[in-house]
């Protein structure tokens, strides 16, 4: 590049409705090919089961949560559809980051809070989301979005509970975001 600019150009995002249609097409493709929707927390579950099986194999055989999962995956917890899909997600997001020039190591947070506070909140939110996704049998993608696309009653309940709680608690956490 020969041209240089002093100002940082504002980052460009896809039109949200175009993005939504494209995401819908990806979701249709998943159903058409694999007879299932998209997901994310399922891959985290695979990773945890695989880690526990490696570190404490006896425990993994004895505790129901792990043993049932291992049994349904022929003892290979990482050989799961969602694991391959999540590897794709990482590659796809990276490619988009390259294309739109958004690759950068940073802690993104509101100017009103410190990076340290943002990271503590991210960990806390992650713990809650990890726990909740297992209790709710799937997260925003697997339970809410994919469920709604096949008109699953549970998908709508899931969506309403996630977003309803977000709105209900938004006031108490406003300083972290605005």
């Amino acid at each position: 590049m020969n041209t240089t600019t002093q100002t940082t150009p504002k980052t460009k995002y896809l039109n949200p409705y175009v993005g939504g249609v494209l995401l819908g097409l990806v979701l249709i493709a998943a159903n058409f090919v694999a007879g299932r929707g998209l997901g994310a927390s399922g891959a985290a579950k695979s990773a945890v089961v695989a880690a526990v099986e490696t570190v404490a194999p006896d425990h993994a055989q004895n505790a129901t949560f792990y043993s049932e999962y291992l049994e349904s995956h022929d003892g290979k917890p990482l050989n799961a559809w969602l694991v391959y899909q999540m590897l794709g997600v990482i590659v796809g997001a990276f490619l988009s980051g390259v294309l739109f020039k958004r690759l950068k190591f940073k802690v993104e947070h509101s100017p009103k809070i410190t990076s340290k506070k943002r990271i503590i909140l991210a960990i806390a939110g992650g713990v809650l989301f990890g726990f909740g996704s297992q209790l709710g049998r799937g997260c925003t993608s697997g339970s809410a979005l994919s469920g709604m696309a096949v008109l699953s009653f549970g998908g709508f309940i899931s969506m309403a509970a996630i977003f309803g709680t977000g709105f209900a608690l938004a006031y108490f956490f406003r300083k972290n975001w605005i």
Binding site: P16, Y17, R36, W81, M86, L135, T140
Partner: protein
Amino acid sequence: MGPLISYDIISQNSNFLFAFLIGIGFGFVLEASGFSSSRKLAGVFYGYDTVVLKVFFTAAITGMIGLLFLSLFNWINLDLVYIKPTFLYSTIAGGIIMGAGFIIGGFCPGTSFCAASIGKIDAMFFIGGMLVGVLIFAEAFPLLEDFYYAKNLGIPTLSEKLGLKDGVVVLGIIIVAMGMFWAGEWAEKKFPREEY
């Protein structure tokens, strides 16, 4: 014809390859739409950025319409598409905990992976927390098992619950979504913002 895996049109290994390719599309669209930014994601709860609402509901209605038409043309047998069973209490409780995780952590699992892949350090910590959360659930599972399996409704669809045809329900959802898009556009004008 579809789902391809159910009719043995593709092998299990090809299915995993497709999973990877579908994942690339999924991750690309999420990142390109701005889902790698926690402040954009959290914006929906304050009205300053409603990209989540727009992308999420546009994707949901696109998916619904697409699957409905594919099934009408007999290109997909929806009876063979996996629908998660609905256990009412755990679905609601899990959703509430996830909602709290969303407003506190600023990501959901899929978006945290997208953000981490473009270098967001907070997202990497979110993923670490998420793995711990799954582990806590796994270890506490014996205590939670009864609640986890309580109030099993089977696999009802919204149309069955409402006693309406699928097409009518989808039309209703499209109308509701249009109303929400309008509200989202209004909120973004009312609560100005900057791109992050």
